[in-house]
């Protein structure tokens, strides 16, 4: 009986192998819930209005939690459930083996700057059309900084605090002139436990949860100090003085109470909630947070009082991590022709204009931005910052880049939370990275 069932199951399996469901449409897997979804829907609508019946696109979405894990399983198993899927710069190396390289249409060079197209390249091949660009802003409370720059008492206190905590007397400066040290002094000044006159409980809110995205945020500081994952010869340089300084900076602010004491469990949503409650004066955060924070309906305490600049300057310059989201073609897809048609159209100024107007955040060439700058002034800043300050760590698109981020997240949060010393954490990171990034 038992044997029979197994046989039956086996037979059913064999029988099913011959069947492959025929679908007439191109299925596109997108990122659910946010403005990316809204943008994609509008674009698909416009495309379907003119595409032939067989080329029409259908959208599907996965849960956000575990999105990339599910995607990895699907692609590895050779799914045919979708033909076009979401890609991210930092995960390109991981998904490239399951993706079909594409040839950029002529329109792409007209729509996107070179640096942005490069966010979808791996190993010399183009894997997708970039749809959204993510980078970091230094968010600050413009009302508070204004007072700090003018109020004599505050200036004096600022000098005293910087001398006591950072060892040198600093003068308040405008956020666009900040060095990382100026930012630290500002963060300490606006911390109630240090300065009882501070109108906010904390001077900053740091995202220190053991999560790869938090490493990306912090990397802007490490890079400004001159840090990189590897030098030109491929040797791991994660234990350089630059990384130490940037790591110690977060540790100092955390230990001195300039960020909430639960910060080691904070990520995007927690940090926004803290800043949005009006109790944190500054925040290094993704560009995408601005719309929600500046909305009177969502966070009335801070709406209209938020300034954004590029992250502070360090000895090596001023930098922001950048990565792109984009759409590429599943290697196992059974509708590659239709998929190529859709992506070709997606790379046109017309499609990207629709996408941007519906809420997406593409980084576009100056000519295209000029057409939508009235509706989306933030896109101008996005493109400028990416061009002027954008960087990718050496190795940041390697096949195992994701694992490097995971490793750093684990080791660096161990240091910040006091579980490991700086030397222990860096030693473990270095040997782990050497293993992951060796060619």
């Amino acid at each position: 009986m038992t044997r029979l069932k197994t046989l039956l199951a086996g037979a059913a399996m064999l029988a099913a192998m011959g069947i492959s469901a025929a679908k007439a449409e191109v299925t596109v897997l997108g990122w659910p819930g946010g403005p990316e979804e809204a943008g994609l829907r509008k674009v698909a609508e416009a495309y379907n209005a003119k595409a032939s019946e067989a080329d029409k696109v259908k959208l599907i979405f996965f849960n956000r939690d575990g999105f990339f894990d599910k995607l990895a399983a699907d692609l590895a198993a050779g799914t045919t459930e979708f033909d076009v899927n979401l890609l991210a710069t930092y995960a390109l190396g991981r998904y490239a083996p399951f993706m079909e390289p594409i040839t950029l249409p002529a329109a792409a060079n007209e729509t996107f700057p070179e640096k942005v197209l490069a966010t979808m390249q791996y190993d010399g091949k183009q894997y997708g059309i970039p749809t959204d660009l993510s980078l970091h802003f230094m968010y600050y409370r413009s009302d508070l900084i204004e007072k700090l720059l003018t109020d004599a008492d505050w200036k004096t206190t600022y000098g005293e605090i910087s001398e006591k905590y950072l060892g040198k007397k600093l003068e308040p400066k405008g956020p666009d002139q900040w060095t990382w040290e100026d930012w630290m002094a500002t963060a300490l000044f606006f911390t109630k436990s240090i300065n009882k006159d501070s109108p906010t409980r904390y001077g900053s809110v740091l995202q220190m949860k053991n999560l790869l995205f938090n490493m990306m945020v912090w990397h802007s500081a490490a890079r400004a100090e001159g840090g990189d994952w590897m030098d030109a010869s491929g040797a791991i340089t994660v234990d350089s003085p630059a990384f130490r300084t940037a790591l110690e900076m977060y540790k100092t602010l955390f230990d001195d109470g300039a960020t909430p004491k639960d910060s080691t469990s904070y990520e995007y949503a927690e940090a926004n909630a803290a800043f949005g409650s009006g109790q944190a004066a500054t925040m290094l955060q993704w560009n995408a947070a601005f719309a929600d924070l500046d909305s009177k309906e969502k966070t009335p305490a801070v709406a209209g009082k938020i300034g954004t600049v590029a992250p502070p300057t360090g000895p090596a310059g001023r930098f922001t991590h950048i990565h792109g989201l984009g759409l590429g073609i599943n290697k196992a897809s059974t509708h590659k022709e239709g998929a190529v048609k859709f992506l070709d159209w997606l790379a046109t100024p017309e499609a990207m204009t629709i996408y941007a107007k519906a809420g997406g955040s593409p980084a576009l060439s100056d000519a295209v931005v000029a057409g939508i700058v009235a509706e989306r002034p933030d896109l101008k800043k996005l493109g400028e910052f990416a061009g002027a300050y954008g960087f990718v760590m050496n190795g940041g698109t390697a096949a195992k880049a994701l694992q490097v981020y995971e490793l750093q997240a684990k080791e660096f949060t161990a240091y910040w939370s006091g579980e490991k010393t700086l030397d222990e954490a860096l030693a473990a990171t270095k040997s782990g990275m050497a293993e992951l990034l060796k060619q």
Binding site: K5, T6, D69, D262, T264, S265, E270, Q403, T413, S417
Partner: protein
């Protein structure tokens, strides 16, 4: 008769066995193959056999042992608290439930919420600025602990797990308590056993199997805890909240070392099989055959 019973027994377990073989036979074989192979997402259809290296790697990995210890400690603590709390509630509130059985439904509520969503909601509830718990602690005491910081996170997770799953213990133990025949209690009462003495000498011994089963299930469930911890704090600062399931999930999906993840699971499977088999032998020897 003897041969017939054996035959009947086999027939009765056949559907279950067949189902398990149909659903897990192939996956188990494939996993066994993975566990002795060099395998990641790139080659799930063509793993390279590499011997017992994955097992050695897991056994030599201090994080594997840290995760095992985390799960063991978490499971034991949480299961003990839940059984005691469930037992106290089940017995003390028994008269209420006897008159109005539907009352127990109010205590069952926490179980109905998906643990993944529970973890997510605690991110809000425990948040310093928008969370209700810090809000009231600040209001009443002027301070609150860093619930998810290094010092408190384990305690916080224990409380969260206990609040959600004590109802489970309560439900099972309540059924067991209610099933004790009134005759037994009456007889005991005639012998002069009332109140606490009756509880210790009659009720608890009769409930012992149920208590054992409850403790066992709660321990296993909490040992393999995943959803709520993962959505609340992930694997924790420096990996400090890495349970066994989180360790395996990370190895599988985040690191992409499928061979290691599967080998670690096989070790876990073997260890728990030995434990269960031993428990079974011990209890089987104690109870006489019917």
């Amino acid at each position: 008769m003897e041969r017939q019973t054996i035959l009947q027994g086999r027939v009765l377990i056949t559907p279950l066995t067949a189902f398990l073989i149909a659903l897990l036979g192939f996956p188990l074989l494939l996993d066994l193959l993975y566990s002795v192979s060099q395998v990641g997402f790139e080659n799930i259809r063509a793993p390279e056999i590499s011997g017992l290296g994955n097992y050695a790697k897991a056994l030599a990995d201090p994080e594997f042992w840290a995760a095992a210890w985390f799960s063991l400690r978490f499971g034991l603590i949480v299961a003990s608290i839940q059984v005691v709390a469930g037992l106290v509630l089940a017995i003390f509130l028994a008269p209420l439930f006897a008159a109005r059985p539907w009352l127990i439904a109010f205590l069952m509520l926490p179980m109905m919420v998906a643990p993944a969503l529970v973890g997510l909601m605690y991110r809000l509830i425990l948040h310093e600025f928008v969370g209700v718990v810090p809000y009231y602690l600040l209001e009443w005491y002027g301070d609150f602990p860093a619930f998810l910081g290094r010092q408190w996170v384990f305690t916080t997770l224990v409380v969260i797990e206990t609040l959600q799953w004590t109802p489970f213990a309560l439900l099972i133990l309540h059924s067991a308590y209610a099933a004790i025949s009134p005759d037994v209690r009456e007889a005991a009462a005639l012998d002069g056993a009332t109140g606490l003495r009756q509880l210790v000498s009659i009720d608890l011994p009769l409930m012992l199997p149920a208590i054992g089963v409850t403790a066992f299930i709660r321990f296993i469930d909490s040992f393999r805890v995943f959803d709520n911890i993962y959505t609340l704090v992930g694997s924790g600062a420096g990996g400090s909240t890495t349970s066994m399931s989180i360790y395996i999930y990370q190895a599988f999906f985040k690191v992409g070392d499928i061979g290691l993840a599967v080998a670690a699971s096989m070790l876990l499977l073997a260890a728990s099989f030995v434990v269960l088999w031993t428990i079974n032998r011990l209890t089987a020897r104690r109870e006489p055959a019917p």
